[in-house]
């Protein structure tokens, strides 16, 4: 019983390795990981005012027309922008056209209790959106200052912190993506491997061996899970070599393997019932999306659990992983009951 079981596992793994297509899957993951971090890097350097200020803030010169109210000018210098004073708007605009300043802020005017400012920006989209990005924070602070003068207190204005986008990206996108993408692939692989046997009519031959139908299905699932697990181990090692701190690696790998088990079992369940690739793959991808949605609504998403394990959250432990193991066991029992569909 055991020997034929492992023979099927071995055959599945060997065929994947022989086809070399697994390389494509690994390339995809590498591609997604590097592409999304390139995207993040690009967006940070273009859309995040902190990053812009850090790398070139002082180079941005803003012309200010002199006025008794110097609050905005000093807020801008505090932010790190270079502020140049001009006596009149005309002078400031001349400086603008001579490329001495990149933007001009006119004197604040009071109109029925509302302060009006005119901001002159270059016509070029790229530069003007950059300036709007960096000037946003001083303008908001100035707005709060004006509110303060009217006696309105705005709370939580002195919070600073550090830009958190990269941190959030690594722990809530990059690591879950690298851990769960192999699981997603292994589900697809299970569908392929079963429906191929059905459509090539090799299933009956396989069933005439001393292996039960449940044994055959389980062997295929195990092969997919092994493949996905190996990839996860490699990714964790690579991430740690890149200096990303990951806590609870044992539990994380355990969770990744369980999720791969869940996707493969669910995919296999669909394939057992539908028995053709076209519909099974379609149902499987819909199931994946629905599963992700439902688990988020139920507040027990494996993605959240994984992120929390990785950052070393005080309230997340092996018990959160056990929940998914229970779910996997249930799903597996259902599959074992349903696999008889293949015999008719």
């Amino acid at each position: 019983m055991i020997a034929p079981f492992f023979a099927v596992v071995k055959k599945e793994l060997a065929s994947v390795i022989r086809d070399r297509t697994i390389v494509i899957s690994i390339l995809i993951q590498l591609f997604i990981a590097s592409f999304s971090s390139a995207l993040l890097l690009g967006m940070l350097s273009l859309y995040d005012s902190d990053t812009i200020m850090k790398f070139g803030g002082a180079g941005i010169k803003i012309g200010v027309v002199a006025s008794p109210d110097t609050e905005l000018a000093s807020l801008m210098s505090e932010r790190g922008l270079t502020v140049l004073q001009f006596a009149t708007l005309k002078e400031a605009q001349t400086a603008f056209f001579n490329n001495e300043v990149s933007a001009v802020v006119d004197t604040p005017l009071d109109e029925n209790g509302i302060t009006q400012i005119k901001l002159y920006l270059p016509e070029l989209d790229a530069v003007s959106s950059l300036i709007r990005m960096v000037i946003q924070e001083p303008l908001k602070q100035y707005e709060n200052y004006l509110r303060g003068q009217k006696g309105i207190e705005v709370r939580y204005t002195d919070m600073k912190g550090k830009p958190s986008t990269s941190y959030e990206f690594v722990y809530s996108v990059l690591i879950p993506m690298l851990m769960f993408f192999p699981a997603f692939v292994s589900g697809s692989m299970s569908v392929d491997s079963l429906t191929e046997e059905v459509e090539n009519k090799t299933l009956q031959t396989l069933l005439s061996t001393p292996l039960s139908i449940n044994g055959m299905v389980s062997a295929k699932i195990l092969a997919s899970v092994i493949l996905s697990f190996v990839q996860c181990v490699a990714w964790i090692a690579l991430l740690q070599m890149n200096g990303i701190v990951i806590q609870n690696t044992g539990w994380i790998l355990c969770l990744a393997a369980i999720v791969a088990g869940i996707t493969s079992t669910a995919a296999m369940l669909g394939a057992v019932m539908l028995q053709d690739r076209e519909r099974s793959q379609f149902i499987y991808s819909l199931l994946l999306l629905a599963g992700a949605g439902i688990s988020t609504i139920l507040n027990s998403s494996p993605i959240t659990a994984l992120s929390r394990l990785a950052i070393g959250d005080a309230y997340t432990s092996g018990w959160n992983v056990a929940v998914f193991a229970v779910f996997l066991a249930t799903l597996y029992i259902v599959l074992m009951k349903m696999s008889r569909c293949l015999l008719v």
Binding site: A38, I152, S164
Partner: protein, 542 residues
């Protein structure tokens, strides 16, 4: 035409049979309902990640309903100790915020700051009159060439502002970033991808059942078969585009115009999948690769709409403009659409050449299959026409690949980015230029030294012409600058690259075909030479 419609109708019947009856339509409807429901619940929580930070609150603190924060009620002493013990990352006591000095806590503070700012604005806006709650108006004016001329001629302050002034309230108007519009634009791509996956599986199904063989022996051309099978799916895709446009209340015709080339492009790529696969697993992996690459190619540039003109290589950038009600011209429209349409044309051509039983049914290594495919595409005419033509028409593919490599490279350490990009571009160019000749030689269509060297020259010529044409088109489209004159004015400048390209492709083809080097090794040697040439040119050596 009639034949095409017959095949198209047969395809619709096939689909109906497959998805009619049984439990599957019900299951699909139920799943769709669940998807819709979860999308509805999740619509407000598009922020990155969930449950990353733990926040302790005590006293009068606005409710924190952002998926990134897990909030718990604590008393003051408890809160302080939990913060010390790193159980929570931030502790808020009424309007006072406590944090630790370490990174995690500081990140949490920043994330919380963004959220709290918004909440405070809502509170202030609700409890005070508008003029007091939002006491600042900023008028945005844009100064361009027209204003500059006016300022120089007239003595008074600038009077003629061409664009109308745009008035914003800073705290309520975030600076323009196209994320939301890109997400909406991505909505269009999802159904198109799903539909094209069905198109692929239909082809595979026919191939599996050997019905394609029967069809091929019928008096219809491969073009009619492909086009007929594609027609119903293309119509589905366009209908779904129109539906999304209608649901998001935008101009339906404009949306169709923007997404039609994209649809063709995605179909073109998915047409390649059934031609090349050998087992089901192949299909899954190839389809996944294709989906990732196309999505990345479409999304990545669009994220930089209005910041960089290169954003227009993706049609999603046009969709972003559409959703912002900003106009765009023909140049901006054709810039992404033409390469996509060109790739569709190339794929259709490849499809008609490859749709024969021998090619479809053979189980060979993928590389072998690719070589056969290239040979089949070239064998239609004399090598000296086919080779330069091949170099010329694969330029859009080269161009797209190089952009993808550039994105890859941005992850590398700064010092390596340029080197990697140069090397990767050289590699792609050399593959395109030599692969056709190598395939021809391996199939025995070309034999002598003279022929090979001659073809290498023609290939280099075709490539160079295509490259310069593309450069000209893209430059004139994006910046309308007078660079084109400079590019083509100096004849000598074109002569040297031609010789260089010729030398590289000769090295590779001769190493491979005459000295029997493995292709990867020959390619590597040629690429290295090409790379050093590129570096030399960049250093200002020429």
């Amino acid at each position: 035409m009639n034949q095409i419609l017959v095949i198209a109708w047969r395809e619709v019947t096939r689909l109906r049979k497959r998805f009619g009856g049984g439990a599957s339509p019900l299951a699909v409807v139920a799943l769709m309902a669940v998807l819709g429901l979860s999308a509805y619940y999740l619509r407000d929580t598009v922020s990155l990640g969930s449950g990353l930070y733990r926040v302790g609150v005590s006293g009068d603190v606005p409710a924190i309903s952002d998926s990134r924060f897990a909030v718990m009620e604590v008393d003051v002493v408890q809160g302080q100790t939990m913060l010390e013990q790193k159980v929570i990352d931030v502790f808020i006591d009424s309007s006072q915020v406590y944090s630790r000095g370490d990174d995690k806590s500081q990140f949490a503070v920043r994330a919380l700051k963004q959220y709290m700012e918004k909440q405070e604005l809502i509170r202030v806006g609700n409890s005070f009159p508008d003029a007091d709650a939002f006491p600042l108006r900023v008028g945005l004016n844009y100064l361009g060439a027209a204003e500059q001329a006016a300022a120089q001629n007239e003595a008074g302050p600038t009077s003629s502002i061409t664009k109308p002034e745009e008035v914003i309230i800073p705290s309520l108007t975030p600076p323009p970033a196209p994320f939301t519009q890109v997400l909406v634009a991505l909505l269009y791509i999802m159904p198109i991808t799903f539909i094209s996956i069905f198109f692929t599986s239909s082809f595979m199904d026919e191939k599996m059942n050997r019905r394609l063989t029967i069809l091929l022996s019928a008096p219809v051309t491969p073009f009619q078969i492909i086009f007929g099978k594609m027609l119903p799916y293309a119509i589905f895709a366009l209908v779904s585009t129109a539906l999304i446009a209608a649901l998001t209340k935008t101009n339906i015709l404009l949306a169709l115009a923007i997404f039609a080339p994209t649809t063709l492009f995605i179909f073109a790529i998915y047409l390649m999948v059934p031609l090349f696969y050998r087992t089901f697993k192949d299909t899954t992996f190839i389809a996944m690769l294709v989906t990732t690459l196309t999505t990345a190619y479409l999304v990545f540039p669009a994220m930089f709409t209005n910041v960089n003109d290169l954003a227009y290589i993706s049609p999603l950038a046009l969709a972003v403009k559409m959703y912002r009600n900003e106009p765009f011209g023909w140049r901006e429209y054709l810039f992404p659409s033409l390469p996509m349409a060109a790739i569709f044309g190339l794929a259709m051509f490849a499809g008609t050449r490859l749709l024969n039983e021998e090619f479809l049914m053979g189980y060979k290594p993928l590389t072998r299959k690719l070589s056969d495919a290239i040979y089949l595409m070239m064998a239609h005419s004399k090598p000296y026409i086919a080779v330069p033509l091949w170099s010329l028409i694969t330029i859009p593919v080269v161009y797209m690949t190089q952009i993808v490599f550039l994105a890859f490279a941005t992850n590398l350490p700064v010092g390596l980015i340029l080197g990697f990009t140069l090397f990767a571009s050289a590699l792609v160019e050399e593959v395109v230029k030599t692969v056709g000749i190598v395939a021809l030689v391996e199939h025995g269509a070309v034999k002598s030294w003279r022929e090979i060297v001659g073809l290498a020259f023609l290939s280099a010529l075709g490539f160079l012409v295509g490259e310069k044409l593309l450069l000209l088109v893209s430059i004139s489209m994006v910046s309308q600058a007078q660079v084109s004159g400079a590019l083509f004015g100096a004849g000598l400048l074109l002569f040297i690259p031609l010789i260089a390209h010729f030398v590289f492709s000769t090295i590779i083809t001769l190493l491979r075909t005459k000295l029997k080097f493995p292709y990867w090794l020959a390619l590597g040697i040629g690429t290295v030479v090409h790379f050093f040439y590129n570096v030399y040119v960049l250093r200002g050596g020429m």
